[in-house]
């Protein structure tokens, strides 16, 4: 049993100079065989393992991670959480996640700092207005708290936005989802890892999958840098590297892995207390609890696994930021980085079985996977445990690319997140 975290635990441990805190998770060697091996120790993978153990009573589970947990897109994103998606399928999926977010700190006994400070999406041209209103109407009917704001209301909600009608692409209004917000990204991975570990899940870091061993149409296990691990089921949650794993079993996925960049400014006192996104001028921004402005850029158009994108993208994003927030011109970029995002043609994810028995994929989250972490883990766990999808992820199967029944969030999410 793990120590419970609380203010009392902190006070108690202060007397022993904090020398007696337990490990948040063990550092086990891989066993010979697991019922389920999750490939990828990011938020989604750890959450999957957590829910497999918690909701489906599975005990013999491992998460293998080639680096350190949370070191991929989980630790590189701009932490935006929202569920105001256009299509019913997406709204169902992301709002399922949002509902879990709302009690996640308590569930995990780990403060993931989920901050419901609202997410605003701005409209800059008439088509934006139509699209965003369409989304707001759909959200309302789907029970998602999204409202349309006119320009004055936008200004009122976030006074530092330049809403002058004389700028190149004036703000014509926007939508607001108040339940949306941000969370502390690292804490999500750590919290799930701690929770999963407590239920016996083996989290094995620095363990890279080199090959997947299969016997005809079913899988047998994985070859790793720490040896062969036998597995009844394998759930792949490798984000940008999904295709690399898929290629091991000659499975082609409708994915392209592209660089996505983000940056933070130096920390300053609170100046913006919500999240503002703008598709038309490609910028989104929030301020972290440390005071840094967290700014996301777009993806580059080419495939790359380097975790580095081109400077033009960063320049373009900051250009848009200064158009909307000219007060930030003297702020300084402190750090800039890139992640690798795997993008589906319809900008929606895949949470699906494959034609290979025992092999499951959870991928294609593109630029916006963080927000779905708890929901994605829950639904993927369901899919693996029951060998069939939950109704909330039934539409996100691989076969949709054959039938043509896409969940096209492209129009509504040129810049997702």
């Amino acid at each position: 049993m793990k120590n419970k975290y609380s203010i009392f635990a902190l006070i108690k441990n202060a007397f022993t100079y904090h020398e007696n805190w337990q490990r948040a998770w063990r550092d086990p060697l891989p066993k010979k065989e697991y019922d389920v091996v999750i490939v990828g120790g990011g938020g989604h993978g750890l959450a999957t393992a957590y829910y497999l153990a918690k909701k489906h009573g599975m005990k013999n589970i491992a998460v293998v991670e080639k680096g350190w947990i949370g070191g991929g897109n989980t630790g590189r994103n701009t932490t935006i959480i929202r569920s105001n998606y256009l299509w019913d399928a997406s709204a169902g999926l992301y709002d399922h996640a949002l509902k879990i977010w709302e009690g996640l700190s308590q569930e995990l006994n780990y403060n993931v700092m989920f901050s419901q400070r609202g997410v605003m999406n701005l409209a800059h041209n008439l088509q934006d207005v139509r699209d965003l209103k369409r989304r707001t109407h759909a959200n309302r009917l789907n029970g998602i708290d999204s409202v349309w704001l006119n320009t004055e209301e936008v200004k009122k909600f976030c006074p530092i936005i330049n809403t002058s009608p004389n700028i190149r692409y004036p703000v014509l209004g926007g939508t607001l989802q108040k339940r949306a917000g941000t969370a502390r990204h690292d804490a999500v991975a750590w919290g799930y890892a701690r929770g999963a570990d407590a239920m016996g899940v083996d989290i094995i870091q620095n363990c890279e999958v080199k090959n997947i061993k299969r016997n005809g149409d079913s899988i047998e296990g994985i070859e790793t840098t720490k040896g062969f691990i036998k597995a009844k089921k394998i759930g792949v949650v490798a984000a940008g590297h999904s295709s690399v794993i898929a290629n091991m079993v000659d499975l082609k996925l409708p994915l392209e892995s592209k660089p996505l960049q983000a940056l933070v400014s130096e920390p300053v006192k609170p100046i913006i207390d919500t999240v503002v996104m703008s598709n038309a001028v490609h910028a989104y921004i929030s301020q972290s609890d440390k005071g840094e402005l967290v700014i996301g850029a777009g993806t580059d158009a080419y495939v790359s696994y380097t975790q580095r994108g081109s400077h033009d993208v960063v320049e373009g994003t900051l250009k848009a930021i200064l158009e909307l927030y000219p007060i930030f011109s003297r702020m300084k970029m402190l750090r800039q980085w890139g992640g690798i995002v795997d993008i589906c043609p319809d900008a929606s994810p895949i949470i699906s079985k494959t034609h290979i028995k025992g092999l499951y994929f959870n991928c294609g989250w593109g630029t916006g996977g963080f927000k779905a972490t708890p929901g994605s883990g829950d639904l993927f766990a369901h899919t693996i445990a029951n060998d069939e999808p939950h109704k909330l992820n039934a539409d996100f199967n691989i076969n949709r690319f054959v039938s043509g029944d896409l969940v096209d969030e492209h129009g509504a999410a040129a810049v997702a997140h």
Binding site: S243, N247, P254, E256, D300, A301, V303, D342, F401, V402
Partner: protein, 91 residues
């Protein structure tokens, strides 16, 4: 920012180019004879290789010519460029 050697114009900054995805995915000559699966393979399925990838680029803000590039996606190193219709200089 890559420095790309356009096979027609010479070395230029990446900002003059646009990327066009994987190369040598030939549009089927008789699409009507393909199954939905086969058509989906052409339309959507990609190798998305980490390593040496063959891809298409367009010198969009220069000569407007499309050409092929061999690039290692694990380090972004461009290994060769060649014109449409030409055989790849590297296997």
């Amino acid at each position: 920012m890559f420095l790309i050697n356009c096979p027609y114009c010479g070395e230029r900054d990446q900002s003059e180019f646009s990327a066009g995805g994987e190369a040598h995915i030939v549009r089927p000559k008789q699409p009507t004879e393909l199954s939905d699966d086969q058509w989906a393979e052409f339309l959507f399925m990609r190798k998305n290789i980490k390593g040496v990838q063959f891809e298409r680029w367009n010198h969009a803000h220069g000569c407007r010519k499309w050409f092929n590039m061999i690039r290692d996606t694990s380090n972004d190193k461009i290994q060769a460029v060649y014109k449409m219709g030409e055989k790849p200089p590297i296997k």
